[in-house]
């Protein structure tokens, strides 16, 4: 049985690691520190943790003030509020100044589950991706969350790190994590499957099923959405018969759009999107919702077969 970890547990622990070696690390939250796990940092370094109450816009603009004084600021709340409620603050006061503000948002995607639509951010990648200067990482599991947090801390400028609510299965043998460098998880030249977040695991399951049918799929973990590893896309487009993109996000504006933009400009090839198709989420258990919104390995297999059947 593979290891199952909450990405946010890893986040909280990684913050403590960072806080021990860098006294400029400051952590902000808006009344969700138990859910986002910034509470772990708060316990260890109470003088460097600030709770702003249910006031995300203030928290976000305040992060800019901290950053202007040389602080390395981590800002956390749920993805829907970090990117939606405080978007103007992110655009005009964080990212425009190119500040060292790391927005680490949890509870992204449909797998939030029973809380339903109001809490399921399906547009957050799109909202952050259009903002100049912004970097975006969507780690696929617990260990990669630590890599993502360190990458955000060690590289200048604003970051958006997207974490889930549910436990994620740890994926072995991913190789080294490098910001902006895709990870090829399986070899194959029939079809390429790009994925991020928990759909990387689904993509691997799909690749296994495809292999049983004699189809070799190249599964690529696209953990960095921005800056995008364009070379990995162009290479895959050239070496396979088409691309499937999987994400727990709207098919509009997220990873699929990022890849389609590169493909359309550089290497036209058929691409199919496994994502949420212009719908709001709803209540349910994560597994049920992934099925309801066609985000499972089954849907990925179908998309891959469709590419190869033309």
């Amino acid at each position: 049985m593979a290891e199952l970890l909450y990405q946010r547990d890893v986040y909280g622990k990684t913050l403590i690691e960072l806080g021990k070696t860098n006294k400029d690390v400051i952590v902000l939250d808006a009344d969700l520190s138990s859910s986002t796990r910034t509470g772990l940092f708060a316990k260890e370094f109470p003088e460097r943790f600030f709770n702003f109450g249910v006031a995300e816009q203030n928290m976000m603009a305040t992060s800019a003030g901290f950053a202007s004084c040389g602080k390395l600021v981590f800002v956390s709340t749920f993805a829907i509020f970090a990117t939606g409620r405080a978007w103007d603050q992110v655009r005009n006061t964080v990212s425009y100044n190119n500040f060292n503000v790391k927005i680490v948002a949890t509870h992204a995607g449909i797998s939030v589950g029973p809380d339903g639509s109001s809490h399921q951010a399906l547009e957050d990648i799109a909202l952050m991706r259009v903002i100049p200067n912004m970097n975006i990482i969507v780690p696929c599991d617990g260990p990669q969350t630590r890599d993502a947090i360190f990458a955000a801390a060690n590289n200048p400028g604003p970051f958006y790190v997207r974490l889930g609510r549910a436990k994620a299965e740890t994926i072995e043998n991913k190789g080294e994590f490098k910001l902006g460098r895709a990870q090829e998880l399986t070899e194959g030249n029939d079809v390429a499957i790009f994925a991020c977040g928990i759909l990387v695991q689904e993509a691997l399951v799909a690749a296994g099923e495809l292999l049983n049918k004699g189809i070799k799929a190249r599964v690529i973990n696209m953990h960095t959405i921005k800056p995008l590893d364009r070379d990995a896309v162009i290479k895959a487009a050239g070496q396979t018969k088409g691309i499937v993109v999987c994400e727990e996000h709207s098919v509009i504006g997220g990873l699929a759009s990022s890849i389609d933009e590169v493909v359309a400009e550089n290497c036209p090839v058929k691409t199919l999107r496994v994502g949420v198709r212009n719908r709001y989420g709803q209540s349910g258990e994560p597994g049920q919702l992934l099925k309801e919104y066609n985000l499972t390995s089954f849907d990925i297999v179908k998309a891959a077969e469709k590419i190869l059947s033309k």
């Binding site: 109450g53 928290m59 603009a61 992060s63 800019a64 003030g65 004084c69 103007d88 005009n92 006061t93």
Partner: protein
């Protein structure tokens, strides 16, 4: 080097010069916001030439007092003050709003002395809060001054920040409210009433000082008083006249965001002699 502190008469002269700059640069640019720049001129002039610690040749000197203009459309005032204080040559003022200029239509970090961009109203008090808390963590004694507009404080973000500034006992922070009574669509009392304004800030846990925002003596004593307040932030509510100093701009809503014509500018500069 920071210019020497000015006496009241000299401050009044400096403010007049800054008003002249504002009119001239907006006229040259052909667009911009004279009304709110002119109303806040006295408070900001007094701040830069009698109150703040800074080094124009080392804008990021760590010990500097922080000033942030939350109502970013009044950039011409900020730029004029920075130029007069020696942050960059005054000739640059005439490049306002031109392609490639370091003086953008709304403030950003390409201007020496501007640390955080503004223009989207309602966020600057939060920026000040971050600066204030950073000072406390670093045990630095710099102070933080934030200029806001009265229309601006209709933004919810301001009140989120107001609550947080008093929660965190930001006594190193002083907000200045340019209470000129106007916003774009008319008088604030007609568009969205702010009163009872002082009571609101008191209720949010602030120390509030109501002054005549064109009286240098009152402005200076308000800044002095703010420094003595412990465990709470201070707001100076400065009653002002929009367009102050140019007769035909005073309390004329149109001059919120319209440049004077060439003739109007000449007339205005004549009045500001």
């Amino acid at each position: 080097m920071q210019p020497d502190n000015l006496k009241i008469k000299e401050l009044e002269q400096k403010a007049k010069q800054i008003r002249r700059n504002i009119v001239a640069m907006i006229a040259k640019a052909g667009s911009g916001h004279p009304g709110g720049s002119l109303s806040a001129t006295d408070a900001v002039t007094a701040l830069f030439f009698s109150e703040l610690r800074y080094k124009p040749d080392a804008p990021l000197w760590p010990g500097r007092d922080r000033f942030h203009m939350s109502k970013g459309h009044c950039a011409p005032l900020w730029y004029s003050v920075l130029a007069e204080a020696g942050f960059f040559p005054k000739e640059k003022l005439m490049t306002l709003r031109q392609l490639g200029s370091m003086l953008q239509g709304h403030p950003d970090r390409r201007t020496p002395g501007v640390e955080v961009a503004s223009g989207s109203l309602g966020q600057g008090l939060s920026v000040g809060l971050g600066m204030s808390l950073a000072a406390k963590i670093d045990k630095m004694d710099y102070r933080v001054y934030i200029l806001m507009g009265d229309g601006e404080i209709q933004e919810g973000n301001i009140w989120e920040a107001a609550m947080a500034c008093s929660h965190y006992k930001c006594d190193n922070l002083c907000a200045i409210l340019d209470y000129n009574g106007f916003q774009i669509d008319g008088k604030t009392c007609a568009v969205m009433n702010l009163e009872p304004l002082k009571d609101k800030w008191l209720a949010f846990g602030w120390h509030a000082i109501l002054i005549d925002g064109h009286n240098m003596k009152e402005i200076l004593s308000a800044y002095a008083e703010a420094k003595t307040v412990k465990d709470k932030p201070t707001i100076i509510i400065a009653k002002t006249t929009k367009g102050k100093g140019v007769s035909f701009m005073e309390n004329v809503c149109d001059f919120h965001g319209r440049a004077p014509t060439k003739e109007e500018a000449e007339k205005a500069l004549e009045e500001l002699k």
